[in-house]
């Protein structure tokens, strides 16, 4: 019996962990969305590879956006693209290095979760160009000179949606005498996640100084059930607006908002299509960042060993479609705040959750 249990346990571990690598690798090749293939003769066509993090291509969030950027580059710049999806964290290094070994001209690692893997592979292939979304090149352990970091001022987008949330909450508190509480659910305490949340909280406080803020982390970017539980707990504490910063897991937050009849705020992509319960979305234009980086490689202006910062001023972050139920006056106020941030009138938006 002991052997049987051990066998079962080993298999379980294998499936959850390491073997996911084999399965993931195979699968990524199998279900890679149709992309143009390279011309055999090693011609002038640029080869761009994209490696997603565990969120996968249809996280309806930043992996998806990165893919949109690649698609745009394929149709407008005529590059050839290839996507490898990672099932497990242990897929990152194999996926990145398999593209590097195939001499791709640019390899894009999507997400801060891949920082260590990108650092390791870029150090091993110093002649290959890499770009990493959501992570600063200088912050990588070896700061390899062939990596370009694509970083965003998420706090500016967070500030805008938080400001809108604060405006709505202030009203509610005034009319019903209820406690004004809003919540946020992050995937993990990572810098890009906390940028959003810190901005959200600062924006809400600016619009409604008396607001109560609750925040939690699901420790997961994939399992929507976990995020939904967290959001339900926060709504139970009186939260009327729920901001999700957890990729695919965060879809559970938006579903909790729908079920409980409160507002949900989307992240990264414009998630207003998920239903009328979505108040707005905090946008991070990963598609733009990926497209521009590919264009730089094509034009020969790609610079490793540096970062590009995408902010509200450069249209790198922003606020998505605002629900038509929001009064026009509030819309105007939010747009004014956006202008103030772009012009530098509102500065020093916090980056860390206090």
């Amino acid at each position: 019996m002991t052997t049987r249990l051990c066998g079962a346990l080993a298999c379980a571990l294998l499936l959850v962990g390491a073997a996911g690598c084999g399965g993931g690798g195979k699968k990524s090749a199998g279900i890679t969305p149709p992309v143009s293939t390279t011309t055999g003769g090693g011609g002038t066509q640029l080869k761009v590879g994209l490696v997603t993090d565990v969120g996968g291509l249809n996280d309806r969030s930043f992996n998806h956006l990165a893919y949109l950027g690649l698609q745009r580059a394929q149709s407008r710049l005529g590059v050839s693209g290839r996507v490898l999806e990672s099932r497990q964290p242990s897929d990152y290094i194999p996926n990145l290095s398999s593209l590097a070994r195939q001499h791709y001209d640019l390899i894009v690692a999507v997400g801060a979760l891949m920082a260590d893997a990108t650092d390791a592979v870029a150090t091993e292939f110093p002649k290959t160009r890499f770009a990493i979304v959501d992570f600063s090149q200088a912050a990588l352990k070896h700061s390899p000179k062939n990596v370009h970091g694509l970083v965003f001022k998420e706090q500016e987008a967070g500030y805008l949606v938080g400001y809108l949330a604060g405006l709505l909450e202030k009203d509610k508190a005034a009319e019903a005498g209820k406690a004004n509480t809003i919540g946020s659910v992050g995937g993990q305490k990572l810098p890009p996640v906390d940028h959003y949340i810190a901005g959200y909280q600062a924006g809400a406080k600016a619009a409604d100084p008396g607001i109560t803020l609750v925040n939690g982390y699901s420790q997961d970017f994939v399992d929507p059930a976990k995020c939904k539980e967290l959001a339900l707990a926060q709504i139970g504490q009186g939260s009327d607006i729920e901001f999700q910063v957890a990729g695919g897991c965060g879809l559970g937050v938006l579903d909790a908002a729908r079920t409980k009849g409160v507002w949900g705020i989307g992240v990264d992509a414009d998630q207003s299509y998920l239903g009328p319960h979505v108040l707005t979305s905090a946008l991070k234009k990963v598609d733009l960042a990926v497209f521009r980086t590919i264009r730089q490689v094509k034009a020969g202006t790609f610079r490793g060993g540096a970062d590009t910062l995408f902010d509200l001023k450069g249209d790198g972050v922003g606020i998505g479609r605002i629900s038509p139920k929001v009064p026009a006056a509030y819309r105007a106020k939010v747009l004014q705040v956006a202008k103030d941030i772009a012009s530098g009138k509102i500065a020093n938006i916090p980056e860390t959750v206090g």
Partner: protein, 411 residues
């Protein structure tokens, strides 16, 4: 195997009297030590949990000295945890405690976490009691999750989703049954293969059918059941608690509880159950009295797939109202563990599922304690730590059906 009723009663008495009973009482005391320091009692004096916890430790040591090693040490562990937890709780600020401990919300969340595990564990029970190891529960749940969503989308009704999801799980289980019964393949290998197959099938079809926008947002979900009268149960506090905890649960949560009772009756009180168990304990004997070993095993494994798939349907249609790739996230394996900890019995497995569920619901709330926000990843281990303690301390050795994992060769 089959004991006369009197002997059973005696057995049961002797199991709980003496040092063993004392040890179990000690474990309960350890839990009470912690509980007293939490809302609604919120005992603020440190000495209370310490004294009660110490009593639990002493009882445990006495029981261990008298030979009841596992429950004895279990009580010691419970006492230590009670003291540690109690000290932390008495030092924490009351508003923080209230944010962490809302018993009604915790109860509802526990049941929601436990439901998919219960479905899958009971499914597993049917398969394993008939002698076929079912490590493919994870894949069968995943099939249920995807095809449940797809079926609900196609038929525009959650009933359609439920039926199609269960059928998909049964179909996958049939593949497992064919390999492990007909071809006498290694059941662990076959189950693992089935898991990969499910991951591939659902992942591919999901991309192919729904693309980047995912399942539609108007997916007809399994409804929640509202019991309005619960809030009127006197006294007021109890009524509110009942309403918050049980007043808005999903229909499938109640279905899982009903299934629990039904599966217990079927497995232990009917000829069908006797056949399943006999095939799992001694297939040769069952064969000689005319029971079709293959037939029973096929039926049991297929049923297990359908039940496990219902757990997946709960996730996609009952809870988050969408499908995402690999959304079962290892719950099938946890269900298998719950089945083993529950000694291959429905209520035992349910108890284990509740323990997992409670720990999963409790762990993320701990982050609300002041100064603990950074330990979120650590708290994620809580379900597994609790399980280890429960298994090592209380459950002890769990004995599987005698013929489980062994293919049967007809003579």
């Amino acid at each position: 195997m089959i004991a006369p009723a009197e002997t059973l009663v005696q057995l049961r008495r002797s199991r709980w009297a003496g040092p063993r009973g004392v040890a179990v009482f000690g474990i309960a005391l350890g839990i009470v030590a912690f509980w007293l320091a939490l809302p609604p009692v919120t005992e603020r004096r440190v000495v209370v949990p310490v004294v009660i916890g110490a009593a639990a430790i002493l009882l445990g040591l006495w029981a261990a000295y008298r030979g009841e090693l596992r429950p004895g040490w279990g009580a010691v562990a419970a006492g230590i945890l009670g003291i540690v937890g109690g000290i932390f709780a008495t030092r924490a600020a009351v508003p923080h405690l209230d944010a962490v401990i809302t018993w009604s919300a915790l109860t509802a969340a526990t049941l929601r976490f436990a439901t998919p595990l219960t479905f899958a564990a009971i499914g597993g029970m049917f398969s394993e009691r008939s002698g076929v190891v079912n490590i493919g529960l994870e894949g069968m749940m995943l099939m249920g999750a995807f095809f449940g969503a797809w079926g609900a989308d196609r038929t525009s009704s959650w009933v359609g989703g439920l039926v199609i999801g269960a059928a998909a799980g049964a179909a996958l289980a049939f593949v497992h049954a064919f390999f492990s019964i007909q071809l006498r393949a290694d059941q662990i290998v076959s189950g693992t293969a089935v898991n990969f197959l499910a991951l591939g099938i659902t992942g591919y079809l999901f991309q192919d059918i729904y693309g980047n926008n995912g399942t539609p947002d108007n997916l007809p979900g399994v409804p929640d059941v509202h019991f309005g009268f619960l809030s009127h149960v006197p006294p007021q506090g109890l009524g509110t608690f009942l309403d918050d905890a049980f007043g808005g649960l999903n229909l499938m949560v109640w279905l899982s509880l009903a299934l629990l009772v039904v599966s217990y009756v079927v497995m232990f009180k009917t000829p069908i159950g006797l056949r399943i168990r006999s095939v799992g304990e001694h297939p040769r004997a069952a064969d000689t009295v005319g029971i079709s070993v293959y037939g029973v095993r096929y039926a049991a494994v297929t049923t297990s797939g359908a039940l496990a798939a219902l757990g997946g349907v709960f996730l996609s249609l009952g809870f988050v109202h969408s499908f995402s790739e690999n959304m079962t996230a290892g719950r099938g394996f946890i269900a298998l563990a719950a089945l083993i900890f529950g000694r291959w019995r429905p209520f035992g497995a349910f108890g284990a599922a509740l323990l997992f569920g409670f720990a999963s619901a409790f762990a993320p709330r701990l982050e609300n304690v002041e100064g603990w926000a950074n330990y979120g990843t650590l708290f994620q281990a809580l379900p597994y730590v609790l399980t280890l303690i429960a298994v090592a301390g209380v459950i002890g050795r769990s004995i599987p059906p005698a013929a489980v994992g062994r293919p049967y060769v007809k003579q």
